[in-house]
Subunit: 426 residues, 2 copies
């Protein structure tokens, strides 16, 4: 029995208030928030003075191993960037490269307060290895390109990944099926994926309506929007996590609501790649679950969820010329509570008794946290992710006073850098 | 004679390249970049391993002491926020409050790599005191509201501030005259300010065309835009640093170019307050000098220039749906080289022999800096301001390994928090 007590910590509660509390953790769960009975004796006490506890961030869309390509190619047109820079390098990546890229991502995510991520890439058993070893929580999916020569192989790998890893590692790992996008996966292929998803009981993770060009091409080719096409081929029946949804119409939004499509909004990536501004306020009003994601580090260029929190609030305020759009609490909920729904969990994303102990503690001992009129406002509009001090996942301390406790940061930085440099020299 | 050697540091050079260099500093100046003669013996050597040296950030528009109101009021309409929250508290601020608010700002700015700031507020002799003591560089101005009962008193204070402080503290302090804005300073008052500016040889710092409402009201009242009105009353003859310029027309831009109006662009503030998106790309093409500013910490809510660098690049990419808009080097130049021009300096903003030694060193030993394909891209798109390690201003080390060397952070945090809490209880 491992028992941890967070003592006298400022805690962001389910109702959006922040109050000083004790938080008792037993094994993987929060067992008490508030007065802890003296008969409950913890193995370890963490002093909450000057700390803010929030539910760990949930990164609802990324490609972890693409950290290896961070800063390799920026300020380019999307297709030029993909065809001439990213894809040629990805073709050379070995299974070990994928592993170390994922490890670099996991190290960065933990250090910046993320406790769960949703991933789409290849060689996903190696990403699963990184997740298992690091103590992280993740929803993994093998990205499938239906038009590629290895389309069938990728589907077989996806199914194997689901059978081998879904709900393993004390349920820290879950698996979805991930057809990459409608423009890379034709309807016949998507129907195969849908059949497999139904057979396995798997949900689907897919890029939808990221760019205007994609939506226009889809309408030209199929006479309907990507969202409507997904309804037709049965994808929306499976439970869908849709990344981006930048260019969605009112009709699309109604369909998404009908089928409970959950959205991973990636403000940093959409801004940097100039994809456009997603109608987040409209989708939220329609009752759609929206989480935040960083997308891959080669397009963002980091895995910093607090930055996405900041961006989502600022971007939609200026877009709507409304300073009340996406207030602080909404943006934090998108990164935690709503993100949990998007990723398909019902026991993370909130600091709540009975929920998993996935907790991020910010050290408020720096200028950006003074004066302390409103801790939530300070977190959303002033702090940065380097103020993350301690991270607990599944009841285990994986970061303490800024130091990774389970994985070896120095080795990760060395391996990732060496492999990345080798890749571009190959 | 104080001599500092930065040894084997990755340095951002004037041409935009990054290369390993030695940088020799003698008193307040950079005397050599490259091979340093062995006959030149430094008093102190700083190891540049894993460090990136850039010119210190120049924050071209802020209200330093408003740090005291950080997180006091957010997610509100501008006028509600000003009239019901900000102004009532500002009316209660004592001279000591202004001093400690400025000190909190200075501490935060130094820790996040800013070496120069342009300020507009009241009780500016106390801000000057904070600047003198801290080793910071600043352009100070007493904000004047022409329609306020103390309009004449404020002008007298402005002139006194100029006479007492302009080009003092080894030229670390400069002074401008600051009529707040056209909507708070009628033409007759602005003409008085212009006369004073010409008499003193002072330049003018003013808010111009921040909101659409302001521009529309100005046209209704005076039959011309704020920029055109400034031409008419003579403000543009004095040398002008114009904050915001969000809503400027092609005609305005032509006038700004004619009179060399320099712009402080505040992307974070414009986004959070939903003021709009400034035509930065258009102004840059027109050859206008544009720097970056944070605006006050009660509207931003921090003084983090690297965040503004990130925002300016992302915001204008998505606004123009062009991933090539404001590339990494342009955004960094706005925060350094261009910012120096905006603030009125010709010897800071670039790492260059003969220039002032105002240098910020980033510690690249964290996940966000790996792999190291392109250091400039990592700085702009991946790093955060907590990676600032060492800051040198006017040849003096004011931050070393993240620790403030001249001012006492702990006392500043205590005083600023206590005073801020007292203010809202008064």
């Amino acid at each position: 029995m491992a028992k941890i007590l967070l003592k006298n910590v400022q805690a962001l509660l389910e109702d959006g208030s922040v109050a000083e509390k004790n938080i008792a953790i037993e094994n993987d769960k929060i067992v008490k928030i508030g007065e802890v009975d003296t008969s409950w004796v913890p193995d370890q006490v963490l002093d909450g003075k000057d700390k803010l506890a929030i539910p760990g961030f949930i990164n609802t869309h990324t490609h972890a191993s693409m950290t290896l390509l961070r800063s390799y190619a920026d300020d380019m047109q999307l297709m030029d960037w993909l065809q001439n820079k990213i894809w040629p390098i990805e073709a050379k990546m070995s299974s070990n490269d994928i592993y170390w890229g994922a490890m670099l991502a996991v190290a960065e995510m933990i250090k910046t307060g993320t406790t769960t991520f949703v991933d789409m890439y290849s060689e996903m058993h190696r990403v699963a290895e990184a997740v298992e070893e690091s103590g992280m929580r993740a929803v993994l999916s093998r990205g499938m390109i239906g038009v590629a020569p290895n389309g069938q192989e990728a589907l077989a790998e996806s199914k194997k990944l689901f059978r081998d890893y879904h709900q393993t590692a004390n349920n820290r790992i879950r698996v979805m099926l991930a057809p990459h996008a409608p423009y890379t996966c034709p309807p016949a292929y998507l129907r195969q994926v849908v059949d497999s998803a139904k057979e396995l009981g798997a949900e689907i993770h897919i890029h939808l309506s990221e760019t205007l060009g994609e939506v226009e091409d889809c309408k030209k080719q199929y006479g309907k929007s990507p969202i409507a096409l997904m309804e037709e081929v049965g994808v929306l029946d499976c439970g869908v996590l849709a990344a981006h949804c930048v260019h969605v119409s009112s009709e699309d939004i109604a369909l998404m609501k009908k089928y409970n499509v959950r959205v991973a909004h990636n403000p940093g990536s959409n801004m940097k790649l100039a994809s456009g501004i997603s109608p987040v306020a409209k989708m939220l009003s329609a009752g759609i679950s929206i989480g935040l994601g960083t997308d891959g580090a080669s397009s963002n260029n980091n895995l910093d969820m607090l930055e996405e929190v900041h961006l989502v609030s600022l971007l939609h305020k200026v877009h709507h010329l409304d300073p009340l759009a996406i207030p602080a609490l909404t943006s934090i909920k998108m990164a935690t509570e709503y993100g949990a729904k998007v990723a398909g969990f019902d026991d993370i994303g909130v600091l709540k008794e009975g929920y998993k102990a996935d907790i991020t503690l910010f050290n408020m001992n720096s200028t950006q946290w003074f004066p302390r009129h409103d801790l939530l406002s300070l977190l959303v509009y002033s702090a940065n992710s380097s103020h993350v001090d301690t991270v607990i996942i599944d009841g285990k301390i994986v970061l303490e006073k800024g130091i990774l406790t389970i994985i070896d940061e120095e080795r990760i930085l060395y391996e990732a850098n060496k492999r990345a440099q080798d890749l571009i020299r190959k």
